[in-house]
């Protein structure tokens, strides 16, 4: 059994009278330590899938198993515990707490987990050794995103989920961020899942899950993923 196993997952939203299907019979699996990319255009249901994987949302049908545990039947509290200990999340818009310094933003995450990494070390790892005590407003977008990644990573999660991590970043900064994520997978053995609409970055992944119209269209495995530096967009 794979580390992450999604099988026949459905997710529907009710918007007034109409029902919107976000996920339709989604099934895939990801192995531990893989860097997986869920690729799809806007509205393909990839973010929904990510939210479900991240324990921020629940599916209506089907099973979602992470490290042997089916999180699809989790209570809200179990989900919170799951998010807390097993998941690191990186948002497109960083979502840093403006009133806290970079370090404090990281600490915000490490405070609540047991085997957390040293916040300062993590920040150094993402190249922010000089920005440790700066407030988000004093940081560039990339730096902010790196703080966000550091915050996600510092928790030492089983899976790292990133929603369009480069979406708000320029090309160079985007690459930097991707490098960090890839390193997390390669060097730290973290399972990283990136959601993006940008097909250009797909080659860096071990596994690419193509989503379209709320369901998985194809899953391709990449035996030799490209280096970040080798990709262009």
């Amino acid at each position: 059994m794979s580390f992450i196993e999604v099988s026949h997952s459905y997710k529907r939203y009710k918007m007034g009278e109409t029902e919107i299907v976000a996920n339709w019979d989604v099934s895939f699996s990801i192995e531990k330590g893989e860097l997986a990319i869920i690729l799809g255009s806007s509205g393909a249901g990839k973010s929904t899938m990510l939210n479900i994987l991240g324990g921020m949302d629940t599916n209506d049908e089907g099973s979602v198993s992470v490290d042997g545990k089916d999180i699809s039947n989790y209570t809200p509290r179990q989900l919170t515990a799951y998010r807390r200990s097993d998941v690191g999340f990186v948002f497109q818009f960083y979502n840093l707490v403006q009133n806290l310094t970079a370090k404090e933003n990281v600490e915000l995450a490490t405070e609540i987990v047991k085997n957390a990494l040293d916040p300062e070390q993590v920040l150094i790892d993402v190249g922010l050794e000089k920005r440790i005590n700066n407030f988000p407003a004093q940081l560039s977008g990339g730096e902010q995103q790196r703080v966000a990644i550091a915050r996600a990573v510092a928790k030492n999660p089983k899976i790292l989920l990133c929603d369009e991590p480069t979406g708000a970043l320029d090309y160079r900064t985007g690459k930097q961020v991707l490098q960090i994520l890839q390193d997390m997978s390669r060097e730290k053995g973290a399972t990283v899942i990136i959601v993006t609409h940008n097909a250009a970055i797909a080659p860096i992944a071990d596994r690419v899950i193509h989503m379209h119209d709320a369901t998985v269209k194809a899953i391709e495995q990449n035996a030799s993923p490209k280096k970040i530096a080798d990709i262009e967009w």
């Binding site: 939210n51 991240g54 921020m56 949302d57 809200p76 509290r77 919170t80 515990a81 799951y82 998010r83 807390r84 200990s85 998941v87 999340f89 948002f91 818009f93 960083y94 979502n95 840093l96 707490v97 403006q98 009133n99 806290l100 310094t101 404090e104 600490e107 915000l108 995450a109 405070e111 609540i112 987990v113 407030f135 988000p136 407003a137 915050r151 928790k155």
Partner: protein, 1128 residues
């Protein structure tokens, strides 16, 4: 152009934010409610009182005389100027028979101080009565109520009847309190009710009360200063008018009293006489009975003797009868003997008679011869004697010298012739004698001798024999006669004896009957006597007791007469009248509300307004994008602003309307509810106060509409594009605390985060602190007030006044009264007692210069005193002991008089004398004014020796009920003048405490609601402003509780800060209220209670926790993804 869409948007903004709309409404409503309500409650109360007093035409001043008001007094009082009406009436305190309930029975007034009939009617007949309305449950119309009136010192009762028929229930205009009617001279010493009867039901020569209403005060607000001034002027005038009245009245009373005593003495004397008479009559009767009894006994003895005698006589008679027959036989024999002797005698007699006859004849012859001889001899001698006589006569003439010579010669011739004649005769005589006479005589002698011989030989022996026979016969005769006589005597004796026996029998029978009769009579008399004696003996102790009692009473009366003092005339305003405690308490309650209104609601409104302002500002900010859109679409600023002004107007005006309406009605009602139960006044009147309404409305608009308009206008000056961007959150920055490294480094991460956030949102921090602080201030002050007044009772009546009552004794006590009182004092009910001097003195002081009643207690000996009254300096806690240096004052009195230790002050004693003394100490005391002196200092100040006139007591069982029972026992004792119980003061405190408590409850409730609204609002704003941040940490895996705490920690911290500052400001506020709120005779305990600290913490804590739960629930439901989607 109709902007329907805009209108729709505005409407939507209302419905979308119902919570906010309601909270603004609530804030304004609470503020307006407190503001208007507290400000109108006092005026409403006074208006109610004024209407009521005017309706019943309550007198302005009442004059009460200790010994009543007589005609002279009336005439004096009638001279007062400016009186609209003067009316005199009666009153008397009496207890309901068989109970402890003391009533003051008034005579019905026609004009002044009338009664409001609640049910039934006023009394018409002199045996009808109308009771105080609050006795309506206890008695029903038609019931009979019976009073036990205590006679006055001269034994008079002023009520004609004891039983009255209840015909109605009334409210008085003078006594308006149900629970605190003041002191009474009957029962437990505490007045429980009042009643009205007709003036005819009183039997009194003088009035007890004069009521006066003045023209210049008619229709005037009795609570105004102007009224007080006018009344004071009238009072002064009355005082001047009545200055001589006490002395005159005392004289009149004395005279009247003396007359009564004399009458009493006469009655007593008469009674005594009657008693003595009765006693004497009985003694006489007894003597008579004894005599009768003795007589009967004597008679009986006599009868017995007689009876015995009779028997003896009968025996004697029986014995003497045979003797008699023997005597008769003897007598017959003697008769025979006598007859024989008689025969013999008769023979002898005849023999003698024959002899005698012979002798006699012889003798006769002899005698004749002798006689003839003798006659011749005598004739011779006679002739010679005649011749001699003639010779003597002639010789006598011759010897006479006067005889002439011729004559002499003649005479000498005659003489010689005569002498010759004589010589012849003498010779013839001689011849006769010698012859004839001698022979005749010898023959006679011979015959005589022969006869004598014959007699001797014959007659004499016969005579002797006869004499012997005669003697014999007479002896026999005598014997016979003797025998006869003896016999007849014996017979007679016997007959007599028999007759006597007969008589004796008859007499005996009569005597027996008489005795029987006498005995019957005697036993009748005896029974009568016994009955009379029994009756007498039965009545005797009673009569003797009555007499002794009467004597005692008279002695007492005399002593009392001697002890009578000048009566005082009390001039009492409506606030000072006995039983007017209610009037003052009512005014106090109104004033308390007024004083509260000066600070409480203003503070409250300020807090509410600030929170409203913040809320409205946030509302404008939230609508920023919406506004931008509208502006972008080309709406004018005016249109956009309309939303906010409409929102503000609607919420604030609605809130103000609710608040003003509730303030005008609910708060006066609550205040009324607080005091209403204790008063007979009608339900509080609602008046509309447009000034207050206007102020409340204006304030509402200022706090809700104006800020919204200003903020909106400011926002709208920005470009629509800028407006479409959400307002950038404030950037993080280092806070001051960070620079204080030692502290900052020691803080945990969460603490740091909280600290950062707190300083990041300074405005909200301030608002939270301020809001909580405001609520806590009000809560703290309110609770402290409650604590302060609640503790007062325990402190004063537990620690300071340890005694249960003061028993005042009469000025003069008889031995019996003394004994009775001592008996009561040493009874099991009384734990201990101490003699003291007690007097109620007065002093005009305070804002209205009211007559403050001061209880003055002087005692001898400090050690004992402190067991009854623990004088103590409140601040230092040091005990104060009485000394000769001066008097110890109660704290509130010292405050009113504005005196410190060492200062001098004066009071007016019971006889209206000013007495000056020095303050030696100021003691803790909360209700009532007190003045304590030691005996020495008393003597010095009052210039008279110290003499105890009362006792302070502690009871074994000090409960109110038992104290009442004991008080009644004491009141029943004739030597007791009155009882001063603490229950009255306790009740007064209770009324004020109760009223204040309820008002405080309302304010505490309002404050709590304010705290809720404020915290809810601020927390809501906080959440909505920071929803993204919250979503982020939620995503990070913070548990719901942690998420809530992430934001709520700040609230808690700020709340704690708010609570702490609230304690400070609350204490200040409390100090202010302590100064202005308490009535003049009451001091509140300034000490702080734990409750004032704990309760606000609990209230705010509970609100915080509950709000936390609500927020927690809300945050649980927050869609974290939604918030995170948008751009920053």
């Amino acid at each position: 152009m109709k902007k329907r869409a805009l209108a729709k948007d505005i409407c939507k903004s209302f419905s979308k934010s119902m919570g906010r709309f309601l909270s603004i409404l609530c804030l304004i409503a609470l503020g307006s409610f407190a503001l208007v309500g507290l400000q109108v409650a006092g005026p409403d109360m006074r208006a109610t009182g004024r209407t009521y007093f005017e309706k019943l035409n309550v007198a302005d001043i009442a004059i009460l005389g200790d010994y009543g008001i007589d005609k002279e007094n009336c005439a004096t009082i009638d001279r007062v100027s400016g009186a609209r009406s003067i009316e005199y009436g009666y009153l008397k305190d009496a207890v309901v028979e068989g109970s402890l309930e003391s009533f003051r029975i008034f005579s019905r007034a026609d004009e002044l101080s009338q009664y409001e009939v609640v049910s039934g009617r006023l009394p018409k007949g002199d045996d009808e009565i109308a009771l105080a309305s609050f006795f309506e449950g206890e008695y029903a119309l038609g019931d009979t109520i019976t009073f036990a009136e205590k006679a006055d010192m001269s034994g008079n009762k002023v009520l004609r009847h004891e039983a009255f028929k209840v015909v109605g229930f009334v409210n008085s205009g003078e006594i308006i309190c149900k629970t605190n009617l003041g002191q009474s001279t009957a029962g437990t010493g505490e007045l429980k009710g009042y009643a009205v009867v007709t003036p005819e039901a009183f039997d009194s020569e003088f009035f007890m009360i004069a009521r006066i209403a003045f023209a210049d005060t008619e229709g005037m607000d009795p609570y105004s200063d102007e009224y007080a001034e006018k009344i004071q002027a009238h009072k002064d005038e009355l005082n001047r008018l009545l200055v001589d009245a006490p002395g005159e009245r005392l004289q009149a009373i004395r005279a009247q009293y003396q007359e009564q005593i004399d009458e009493g003495q006469a009655e007593l004397d008469e009674a005594k006489q009657q008693y003595e008479d009765a006693k004497q009559a009985l003694a006489d009767a007894n003597d008579a009975l004894e005599a009768g009894r003795a007589e009967i006994a004597a008679a009986k003895r006599e009868v017995a003797a007689k009876s015995r005698e009779l028997k003896e006589a009968e025996a004697a008679i029986a014995a003497s009868e045979p003797e008699l027959s023997v005597a008769q036989q003897e007598l017959t024999q003697k008769q025979q003997e006598y007859d024989a002797a008689y025969t013999e005698f008769s023979e002898k007699k005849q023999q003698l008679a024959k002899v005698e006859a012979v002798v006699n004849v012889t003798e006769k012859g002899l005698q004749v011869s002798r006689n003839a001889l003798e006659r011749r001899k005598t004739a011779y001698e006679t002739e010679i004697a005649a011749l001699q006589a003639e010779i003597d006569s002639i010789e006598a003439q011759l010897s006479d010298p006067g005889t002439s010579l011729s004559e002499r010669a003649e005479l000498t011739r005659q003489l010689a012739r005569k002498e010759a004649q004589k010589k012849l005769k003498e010779s013839e005589q001689q011849t006769f004698l010698n012859h004839t006479y001698q022979t005749g005589m010898a023959a006679v002698e011979e015959g005589q001798r022969l006869l004598d011989e014959q007699v001797k030989e014959q007659l004499e022996p016969a005579q002797q024999e006869l004499a012997a026979a005669k003697a014999q016969l007479s002896a026999a005769k005598k014997q016979l006669d003797d025998g006869k006589a003896q016999l007849s005597a014996a017979e007679k004796q016997l007959a007599d004896a028999k007759a006597q026996v007969e008589d004796g029998r008859t007499q005996l029978a009569v005597a027996c009957r008489q005795i029987a009769r006498a005995e019957t009579t005697l036993s009748g008399k005896d029974a009568e006597y016994q009955a009379a004696l029994t009756e007498f003996e039965e009545k005797r102790p009673e009569v003797e007791a009555q007499i002794a009692e009467a004597e005692g009473e008279l002695a007492d009366a005399r002593a009392e007469l001697a002890a009578l003092t000048q009566p005082a005339y009390a001039m009492d305003t409506r606030r000072e009248l006995p039983g007017s405690e209610g009037y003052r308490i009512y005014a106090s309650v109104a004033e308390i509300v007024d004083e509260l209104a000066k600070v409480f609601p203003i503070f409250l409104y300020f807090v509410a307004a600030l929170v409203t302002l913040t809320t409205m500002t946030r509302f404008v900010d939230e609508e920023r994008i919406n506004s931008g859109t509208l502006k972008g679409l080309g709406y004018e600023n005016r249109d956009i602003t309309k939303k906010f002004t409409a929102y503000g107007l609607a919420s604030s005006l609605l809130g103000a309307a609710v608040g003003v309406a509730a303030g005008h009605t609910l708060l006066p009602m609550i205040v009324y509810h607080a005091y209403g139960d204790a008063f007979t006044l009608p339900r509080v009147e609602f008046h509309f106060y447009w000034q207050n309404t206007l102020v409340a409305t204006a304030l509402a608009l200022i706090s809700a509409v104006l800020p919204a308009y200003i903020v909106a206008a400011k926002n709208l000056r920005e470009k629509p594009a800028a407006l479409l961007q959400p307002k950038p959150p404030a950037n993080g920055s280092k806070i001051l605390l960070e620079h204080i490294t030692p502290i900052w480094n020691h803080m945990t991460f969460t603490q740091k985060v909280t600290a950062r956030n707190i300083f990041r949102y300074k405005k909200r921090m301030f608002m939270t602190i301020f809001g909580v602080c405001g609520s806590v201030t009000l809560l703290f002050a309110g609770l402290s007030m409650q604590h302060s007044i609640s503790g007062v009772k325990d402190r004063q009546f537990g620690d300071i006044l340890k005694y249960d009552m003061i028993v005042a004794k009469d000025g003069y006590l008889t031995d019996a009264e003394k004994e009775e009182l001592d008996g009561l004092l040493s009874s099991g009910e009384v734990e201990k007692s101490l003699p003291i001097y007690y007097e109620a003195v007065t002093k005009a002081a305070g804002k209205k210069m009211d007559k403050q009643e001061i209880k003055m207690i002087a005692a001898d000996g400090e050690e004992g005193f402190s067991q009854y009254i623990g004088l103590v300096n409140r601040k230092s806690g040091e005990a104060i002991s009485l000394s000769g240096d001066g008097a110890v004052l109660s704290e509130r009195l010292a405050e009113l008089l504005d005196v410190q230790v060492g200062d001098r002050f004066t009071v007016m004693d019971a006889e209206n004398q000013e007495r000056e003394m020095t303050v030696a100490g100021i003691t803790e005391m909360y209700t009532g004014h007190f003045l304590f002196l030691d005996a020495e200092y008393y003597a010095e100040v009052f210039d008279r020796p110290y003499a105890a006139n009362a006792y302070v007591l502690t009871l074994e069982d000090g409960s109110n009920e038992n104290a009442e029972t004991v008080a009644n026992t004491f009141m029943a004792c004739s030597g007791v003048k009155g009882i001063v119980q603490n229950t009255t003061m306790k009740k007064q405190i209770d009324t004020i405490v109760e009223s204040l408590n309820q008002i405080m409850d309302v304010l505490i409730l309002v404050s709590s609601m304010l705290a809720i609204v404020i915290l809810y609002n601020l927390t809501n704003i906080n959440v909505s402003e920071r929803i993204r941040e919250l979503s982020t940490i939620k995503v990070l895996g913070f548990y719901d509780k942690e998420v809530t705490m992430y934001i709520y920690r700040e609230t808690i911290f700020l709340t704690i800060l708010g609570v702490l500052t609230g304690f400070l400001t609350g204490n200040l506020f409390y100090r202010y209220m302590l100064r202005v709120v308490p009535p003049e005779e009451v001091m509140f305990n300034p000490a702080l209670g734990a409750k004032a600290f704990i309760a606000p913490v609990l209230v705010v804590g509970v609100i915080t926790v509950v709000l936390g739960k609500i927020i927690n629930g809300k945050l649980k439901r927050v869609d974290m993804l939604e918030a995170l989607k948008s751009v920053e």
